[in-house]
């Protein structure tokens, strides 16, 4: 009997992989989940597929099944720190006509700098038609069939169309963007700023202070993103503001709870670092802090969170300095994207392509 042709393959064994599989099974034809053991699975602490059950129509492979991986659309749903490892194994099996979309939220450290997950995938394979999924997407809600929204981003229209055809439908709205860089950065940076807002909450500050931090956070994200080629307006969308708003509104979101927990305490609660999202946020914060410093881009909120990840103690004075600073300092924190094309030093430092 000829093997079934898979229309969509999902690579991963966590909650995100399970949720996407459940979503796709309702919409598409043949869906496969490829869930091989991953090298850096230790410390994630989660049960396979996060304890979620997959629909019976979804085929699960525990090794790198070549037929499954030959699907026209492959979704990589692993934490960002596992993207390099899994793509080193899967990359040689892929072809140039395939579409690969990732759902990772974080930046991947590389040789003193950092890469976005799509850049890692491009490096480890011949695939160029790449995209990313981001946005306030909660696995539990999706599996239950509750309304959700996602953004699919790619410079290739056909990638976005294929992703929409595979995942959009029913209660899930799938928005599209051509700004892959911006969506990836928004997804990676949002949790860092959610930590900052959590810190403010943990120190007893109210909604006004948190809103001030949120507003400045968006400015920092957009400014940094613009130096890397992202469009500033992307950060006002689902993967920027939408995601960040959700992360600071939902009391159960890990980055926010981490911020609350560390507020006012000395050192860092090491048990938090086993959480995938905190690990990703920490790695992203460190990488972006170094890159921003090299470019002379001021990111005071991100820097404060990175220092907390390193063991510094968040204080009321620091929160007030970040949320309530005068206009002069705030203006310095914002990069005017209109000036970025001209290498004028002094007032408008810029670092080319934002990699440090």
């Amino acid at each position: 009997m000829a093997p079934r042709k898979t229309s969509l393959a999902i690579l991963g064994s966590g909650r995100m992989a399970a949720a996407l599989a459940a979503l796709a099974a309702r919409v598409s034809g043949s869906v496969a989940v490829v869930a091989p053991p991953l090298a850096d699975a230790a410390g994630t602490g989660a049960a396979r597929f996060g304890g979620l059950r997959l629909p019976k129509t979804v085929r699960v492979f525990e090794s790198l099944d070549r037929a499954a991986l030959a699907a026209p659309l492959l979704v990589v749903a692993v934490p960002s720190f596992q993207v390099g490892g899994i793509m080193a194994r899967v990359g040689p099996l892929l072809r140039g006509d395939q579409y690969v979309v990732h759902a990772s939220r974080g930046l991947v450290g590389s040789g003193g700098g950092w890469e976005r997950p799509s850049e890692v995938i491009a490096r480890e394979s011949c695939v160029r038609k790449l995209g990313a999924l981001a946005g306030p997407f909660f696995a539990d809600e999706v599996v239950k069939g509750e309304p959700s929204s996602l953004v699919a981003a790619s410079g290739f229209r056909e990638v976005v169309d294929a992703t929409k055809a595979a995942l959009a439908g029913g209660p899930v709205s799938l928005f599209t963007s051509d700004d892959l860089c911006g969506v990836e950065l928004g997804g990676a940076l949002g949790p860092i700023y959610a930590v900052a807002v959590g810190m403010a909450a943990g120190l007893g500050y109210g909604m006004g202070t948190r809103a001030a931090l949120l507003t400045k956070a968006l400015s920092e994200m957009a400014g940094f993103g613009a130096t890397g080629g992202a469009q500033a307006r992307t950060f006002s969308g689902l993967s920027g503001l939408g995601d960040l708003f959700t992360l600071v509104s939902v009391e159960g979101a890990a980055p926010f709870r981490f911020g609350v927990a560390v507020a006012g305490r000395a050192g860092r609660p090491d048990e938090w670092l086993r959480d995938v999202r905190i690990r990703e946020a920490r790695a992203s914060a460190d990488a972006v802090r170094r890159a921003a410093a090299s470019m002379g881009v001021a990111m005071p909120i991100l820097t404060a969170v990175a220092e907390v990840f390193d063991g510094a103690r968040p204080t009321r004075e620091r929160i007030e300095a970040l949320a309530g600073a005068g206009a002069g300092r705030d203006a310095d924190a914002v990069i005017d994207p209109k000036r970025l094309g001209v290498p004028l030093p002094a007032l408008f430092p810029q670092g080319g392509r934002g990699k440090g």
Partner: protein, 539 residues
């Protein structure tokens, strides 16, 4: 374009553009043809009004008036005729010509003739070389992946994409192509260059096709891109400067014009569909590197005024003054300086590396079946949006190659060092005020200059060892004092005002704009960060 190919290429270009535009019009719910012709009239009207230097101004005005008259009464059939007329007019203007006799003359006589003329100022050199005639070709050094290029030229069609600093780049590339034993290339050159008294004669006959950067309407750009595509499909190697114009700031190009660069992927697709032998297209980034730039003063002036960036075409600069060209070339010869052309690693139209066998490879050296990039549902599909995105990826790789293959000279090292030192010492936060005042306010002790240059050399050599740029022989090996002496000699020999001057034991900045220009060649490498990290480390 050889005479025997001209008519066929012209017909092909006109037919394709016409068919494409009519197909879009047929699919469009709105009055697409009206929009297209309106846009042409609008932008051409603006251009004709403002381009007072154009030799074709009267003819263009008459043509535009006739177009406007015809359009005002046009029915659908007449609009299609108007479309065809516009396309034909643009294609005929763009079409390049090639003359074998002129090419032979240019490549054999001019380098020696120039050499004799210029070396008249150096009788000793003339005497020492006798009976061999000196020529400027000794001053053009070609390095990088030359052998690879020679092999690829036989396996497919090549698109050379050099950096662009000076109007001398075109003759340098033309001569280099000859020196490497490659067939002549076809290349787009600004329309203003065809009006140059001396150069124009050769531009008309050496394969250049005309690019009018003042024409803004989409139909013209479509014709231009199709022309480049058809020439590639016909096996004509191409050359164009993806930066579009000379770098005003002196920095390595970071933003490219992707229109013509996209001709490669379209030509490859058409070659595959037409089952042509040797269908592959290879994009070869190269860098042209000068110790001094002929038009530096005008370019940096324009950059600082931000007077239109790429929209502004400098008509009257050093290149239009024979005395400046002569002075520049004389210094090139008498100082035994070199223009360095570095041939970079070839890329395919999708931005992948290509080896010397013409095989595309991924980052791990694995071969890639690039034909699959055109497939959708197992079948090859034409998709303009897809091609545009691939071309954007290719552009990013070309920029990477430009940065890695840029050759850094003593002039750049000294300029960067001194400029950054002056900036650190200045309390002025306004950049333009700093440029105006620094020359009058700050001088530097030579001992500190040597110390700072030594630090810069360390940073640049580190970048060179990481493959992020290339260092000239002097920058790679000489000590700070030698570098400073060499750079000061060069800075004092060509520009109207010396960029920097040494008096006694102090260094005086004399022309901050030019200092900034030569400093900008090192922009984009993160040198500022490396310097501050080194300072923190030392502390």
């Amino acid at each position: 374009m050889r005479p025997e190919d001209q008519r066929r290429v012209l017909i092909e270009v006109v037919s394709r553009v016409k068919e494409r535009q009519l197909a879009v019009a047929a699919r469009s719910a709105e009055a697409y043809l009206d929009h297209l012709i309106h846009e042409t009239i609008f932008y051409e009207d603006e251009r004709v009004r403002t381009d007072v230097h154009s030799v074709k101004r009267a003819d263009d005005k008459a043509w535009l008036a006739a177009l406007r008259r015809r359009f005002s009464h046009a029915g659908e059939l007449e609009k299609k005729r108007l479309l065809a007329d516009i396309i034909e007019r643009h294609a005929a203007e763009i079409l390049g010509h090639f003359s074998d006799p002129v090419y032979r003359f240019t490549t054999s006589v001019i380098p020696s003739g120039l050499g004799v003329m210029l070396n008249a100022f150096s009788p000793l050199k003339l005497a020492s070389d006798f009976p061999r005639l000196p020529d400027v070709s000794g001053n053009i050094v070609i390095g990088g992946r030359v052998e690879e290029l020679r092999k690829l030229e036989k396996l497919g069609t090549v698109v050379l994409t050099p950096t662009h600093s000076s109007n001398l780049d075109s003759p340098v590339m033309g001569y280099a192509v000859f020196r490497m034993g490659l067939p002549p290339v076809t290349y787009g050159a600004g329309l203003n260059l065809f009006q140059h008294r001396f150069l124009g004669y050769f531009m008309q006959r050496l394969g250049a096709y005309k690019v009018d950067r003042l024409k803004k309407h989409s139909l013209y750009k479509d014709v231009l891109k199709e022309y480049a595509t058809v020439t590639l499909e016909n096996g004509y190697h191409n050359l164009f400067f993806p930066g579009g114009t000379r770098s005003r700031s002196g920095a390595v190009e970071q933003k490219l014009k992707l229109g013509l660069l996209g001709a490669g992927i379209q030509a490859y697709y058409n070659n595959l569909r037409g089952k042509k032998p040797n269908p592959k297209i290879f994009i070869v980034p190269c860098t042209i590197n000068y110790q001094l730039v002929l038009e530096a003063a005008s370019l940096i002036d324009d950059h600082l005024k931000e007077a239109g960036k790429s929209r502004y075409i400098i008509v009257d600069d050093e290149f239009s003054r024979p005395s400046r060209i002569y002075a520049f070339l004389r210094n090139l010869v008498t100082l035994e300086e070199r223009v360095h052309l570095i041939i970079g690693r070839a890329l395919d139209p999708f931005g992948n590396d290509v080896d010397e066998e013409g095989v595309s490879r991924d980052a791990h050296g694995r071969p890639i079946d690039i034909e699959r990039y055109f497939l959708r549902g197992g079948e090859p599909v034409h998709d303009a949006d897809r091609n545009a995105e691939f071309t954007r990826l290719l552009g990013a790789r070309v920029v990477d190659a430009f940065m890695a293959d840029t050759l850094v000279f003593s002039t750049n090292v000294l300029a960067w060092t001194v400029f950054e030192r002056l900036r650190a010492e200045s309390s002025d936060r306004d950049f333009y005020r700093f440029l105006r005042s620094a020359a009058y306010e700050i001088t530097l002790p030579m001992t500190e200059v040597y110390r700072d240059v030594d630090r810069t050399l360390g940073l640049v050599r580190r970048l060179a060892s990481e493959g992020r740029l290339r260092a000239s022989d002097a920058v790679a090996h000489a000590d700070a004092e030698t570098i400073v002496a060499k750079a000061l000699r060069l800075f004092g020999c060509y520009h109207t005002r010396p960029v920097l001057e040494r008096h006694g034991d102090r260094l005086f900045p004399t022309d901050m704009n030019l200092l900034y220009f030569y400093r900008n060649r090192l922009w984009g490498y993160g040198l500022e960060r490396m310097k501050s990290e080194a300072t923190v480390g030392a502390a």
